[in-house]
Symmetry: none
Subunit: 335 residues, 2 copies
Amino acid sequence: MNSGFSSLASSAVLRGQQFLIRSLGGYSVSDITHQKKRMEAVKCSSGGASLEADAECVLRAITPSLDPRRHKGQAGNIAVIGGCREYTGAPYFVAISALKIGADLSHVFCTQGAATVIKSYSPELIVHPILEESYTISDVDDEGRRQITKKIISEFDKWIERFDCLVIGPGLGRDPFLLECVSKLMTRARESNVPMVVDADGLFLVTNNIELVMPLLVRIGGVTILRKRKSDLISDGEIVQSVSIYGSPRRCGGQGDILSGSVAVFLSWARQHISETEREKTLSRTSPIVLGCIAGSALLRKAAALAFEHKKRSTLTTDIIEHLGQSLESICPAS
Amino acid sequence: MNSGFSSLASSAVLRGQQFLIRSLGGYSVSDITHQKKRMEAVKCSSGGASLEADAECVLRAITPSLDPRRHKGQAGNIAVIGGCREYTGAPYFVAISALKIGADLSHVFCTQGAATVIKSYSPELIVHPILEESYTISDVDDEGRRQITKKIISEFDKWIERFDCLVIGPGLGRDPFLLECVSKLMTRARESNVPMVVDADGLFLVTNNIELVMPLLVRIGGVTILRKRKSDLISDGEIVQSVSIYGSPRRCGGQGDILSGSVAVFLSWARQHISETEREKTLSRTSPIVLGCIAGSALLRKAAALAFEHKKRSTLTTDIIEHLGQSLESICPAS
């Protein structure tokens, strides 16, 4: 099963429908009060021989309780690297979805031109116009480009330690200079043990620079792949799980961006609740990353189903985003 | 009747209310499962001597069933060429209408200045800021202009094969350099057998460069004309059909843009469901383009009627767009 899945993963045709979800260990220290939740999560996802995950159970297990004593940021601080001259909708969809699910803060790192537009979509996002595309620096020599790259990395370095998860790729485009900078930012994120969800043009970048994820293959967490289809499939190379509940027949563009944002939030929550030490104590092979993918997939599918009930063929990505909150509440009430 | 219609078509006064809807064969390969739908469509539109089409019947026949096994793009990938320094609303109305009716993806090719505004209207659209107007290149010599034109064509070429239909003209303006580029893009689309809906300033371009559509007159599909009035009239030179159902007395600007987007989606669906081979097997003279015009006209009229019921004199184009989904659902339920 595992090798079959890997072979699917390498098909160019399916590349756009897949996610590489990468984690670099560094799981947060165990919080003893969440031991019960951990037990639930392990039970949900590894209890049977069935490929189908008990996604609602996973979702309830990893979603943190709301506690008035907690501070801004503790429910998730997510960042998207994407948004260029051509694309602005995709990074917006990722970032706003993360907030609508329950993250406290959502950032976008993009080019100057994209930043103006993304800011205009919503005042809720923190948008950093730090990236550059080749056409804006066509008059700059090699030394100048090195300086620009250095400045971009330095701006990014101010923030990286604060993020629970990065989403790399939605609306990134394929400009060579921009992609070269982003590959350097990915290296910094890896050094800081920040997990990454890689999608869209980020997959183009990774498939052309496989060394960006190679070191991860031998570490706990490694690379997890989520294949979006009629039934979603998730594998970390050790186990395969499917999510088939809910879903909608509408295929409007942008749903993959909601999924990226959703997975980013849930894997952050799963990592908070299930520490590496605890995982080693059990024999469970279900990583927090896989749990995050199961929950992220299930929530998108639920929201898409609810939006379709109301809007039918007219359903757009923004309609689905508007149903994220209600969907989570119906599975896992806040109080 | 046919020559009378052509003479109406050449009147300058009526030009703005007409569409040249051009198709260049290339009908998609027959899907045997849609044979029933084809039979229905043929029966709807060619069954009687009456000029009035059974528009609801056509609409139901060509609208594809929603199937969870289908992929993003299969329900339609539409592109608009329009949007300049002066106009941004029209191409937005076309592109968002296409999505609200059920297309999966909707693109706009426009100038840089228009792109920022159109993107900010909605994150759902993919907006390509590739066109240039004379005022932005006033310092550029002939060779420079040739290079710019070449680059525009090259950017467009990356995308053209993916589109099911192009809409040319809404918000295009009349800048000579821009129109010259667009006439070249139309030639590329024709070479790629992508059908085009020509409206607004696109009609100005075509009437001043009639060679852009002349080669089409001798091919199947050829030129179809849609005249928007109290009763809409549609002819491909062989048959004439009218659509008089529904409608609203409100004449706010922008309804023609909804019609362009609506026709683009329905003619794409009609071409998917009724292959050329199948058409030849029957003696029906009703082309998928005519069927698309009938359906597109009927849906706009229904949505305009519903919006007018709610908003009366205050009805705007955005109100009508908000009723497209409900209108289609009432005629042709999604499930």
